[in-house]
């Protein structure tokens, strides 16, 4: 809640799998990511005192104990859609700060079939007609949200294309990315309208992947000679307040919509004791191009409407003033729901360590921020510092 003790949790090890498609199961990927993270931290599995993890559609994380070793560890499965990774991370942080564990694991993974995410009206409390008449389409919601935002704040379609262009450019430089071919803004604009104003190549796709983080109390981190730790200064999850605009809503309240992303980001900055102006590199939920544009302002990195100028000027590129989604984000990596939020943390850790390779932000970034947003109005944010 307060900043007290906030610097006491360190990310000592990170592990990620390739996010492109393969024959591996989600649990195979998860085990691989955990082993990589343990090796990165120099921590053997039996030293881990608590584990938290989950997937949306690829099985229960706690079954990993049969692969990692039956050490008796408490392993809590979490399942919060896009905030699954964030929930695992917050739970792991709480376990360390409470004294319940001095070494904790957070793992997120998923593997979705092509064109996944079949919503059923009843699961959302909706009349069957919403499905039958074609209104249960997530891409429609994203399109309608950015459509209004463009109208209110003077954002153009070219800016949306530039966001995707940057994503593919960064993906081409990231070994774990799924989409590794650069694509220019004109090709993105010409890729076929899906839901106006969003075209095909402005969207991410359901995918696969796994990410694991080994978190330690500072006292333990000191004793790990091989570790290259980064401080996790804040990890926050929030759910929507009344007045937000969400997917699959037959109605929405009037006025300016509330933003769970703004709430979560604000809480994370308060916990960390620093603000958006202090951040050197960030990862923002980019389910599609419009989301990245809106989340830049919702998370406090610019005023509404400023994105039009900032993005055109390259401010969000790897060499810019505020590099965003430096590993290509969801657009280039796909979105395995359970893994996506921890992929962002992985990327920030590697950036702050100076180990991001071809997509390293120059100048030695020392602070980073991550943000996920998902249905039905959940957001998870972190602040990390070197």
């Amino acid at each position: 809640m307060s900043g007290a003790g906030a610097a006491d949790v360190l990310v000592c090890g990170v592990g990620i799998t390739p996010f492109g498609r393969s024959e591996a199961t989600g649990l195979d990927l998860a085990a691989q990511a955990v082993r990589t993270a343990l090796a990165d931290a120099g921590v053997p599995w039996p030293r881990v005192r608590a584990a938290f993890g989950g997937s949306d559609a690829a099985g229960n994380a706690d079954t990993l104990v049969t692969r990692l070793g039956l050490t008796g560890i408490p392993f809590v499965n979490v399942r919060n859609g896009c905030a699954t990774g964030g929930s695992a991370l917050v739970s792991a942080v709480n376990a360390i700060r409470s004294g319940a564990a001095d070494v904790a694991l957070a793992v997120g993974f998923d593997k979705h079939p092509r064109g996944a995410f079949d919503p059923r009206p009843a699961d959302w409390g909706l009349d069957e007609a919403y499905g039958a008449e074609g209104l249960m389409v997530t891409t429609q919601f994203f399109a309608m949200k950015i459509q209004r935002y463009m109208h209110d704040h003077g954002i153009t379609a070219r800016t949306l294309a530039l966001v995707a262009e940057k994503a593919y450019a960064n993906g081409a430089r990231s070994p774990h990315a799924w989409r590794r071919e650069p694509l220019d803004a004109d090709a993105i604009l010409a890729s076929g309208m899906v839901n106006d104003p969003l075209t095909r190549y402005m969207f991410c796709s359901p995918g696969q992947g796994a990410v694991a983080l080994v978190l330690c109390a500072r006292s333990v981190a000191r004793e790990l000679p091989a570790a290259d730790p980064v401080a996790l200064r804040a990890a926050v999850v929030r759910s929507r307040r009344f007045g937000s605009f969400e997917v699959f809503s037959p109605w929405a309240p009037g006025g300016i919509p509330t933003s769970v992303s703004a709430d979560a980001a604000g809480a994370a900055f308060e916990e960390a004791g620093i603000g958006p102006d202090d951040i050197d590199v960030c990862q923002l939920q980019d389910t599609e191009s419009g989301a990245e544009v809106m989340h830049l302002a919702e998370c406090g990195f610019c005023e509404h409407g400023e994105q039009e100028r900032l993005i055109a000027a390259g401010a969000t590129a790897i060499g810019g003033a505020l590099p965003v989604n430096t590993d290509g984000g969801c657009i280039a990596n796909g979105e395995p729901i359970g893994a996506s939020g921890l992929r962002q943390v992985h990327e920030i850790v590697q950036q702050l360590r100076g180990r991001a390779g071809d997509h390293q932000v120059p100048g030695g970034p020392r602070t980073g921020f991550t943000h996920v947003y998902g249905a039905p109005g959940v957001s998870a944010c972190t602040v990390l510092t070197r």
Partner: protein, 124 residues
């Protein structure tokens, strides 16, 4: 036919409204989603303005989508803001994508399925 007249003759959407915080809701809900208090049924206005929109350019996945017998055709969908201070998701009929503008006046009516809207002043 004139818009206001259409609104009178077309079946109104039935929502609910909280007497305490004045939040109106569609479809009707006995509990106010803002304060949790009891809400009363209300007939919603039949005319409003288009708050946002998009075009469904591809056939949604079936199920849950039921493809019409004569095949899929792109359609416009949007949120219509009503004077009661809420926005209603509706299919927008009677206008081509090029003609859709945020802020345009539309009429909104209940029917067998989801709410449908059309530009005010445009008859079937």
């Amino acid at each position: 036919m004139e818009g206001a007249l259409t609104a009178v003759s077309a079946p109104a959407l039935r929502g609910s409204r909280c007497p305490r915080c004045e939040v109106a809701v569609y479809p009707a809900d006995p509990a106010c989603p803002n304060c949790g208090g009891p809400a009363a049924p209300v007939r919603l206005s039949g005319t409003g303005t288009l708050w946002t929109w998009t075009v469904q350019r591809y056939a949604p996945k079936s199920p849950p989508y039921e493809t019409p017998e004569d095949g899929f055709r792109p359609f416009v969908v949007g949120y219509v803001e009503l004077p009661e201070g809420l926005r209603i998701l509706a299919v927008l009929d009677g206008v081509r994508p090029e003609g859709v503008r945020i802020g345009m006046r539309v009429t909104l009516a209940a029917g067998a399925g989801v709410p449908h809207a059309r530009p005010a002043g445009v008859t079937v």
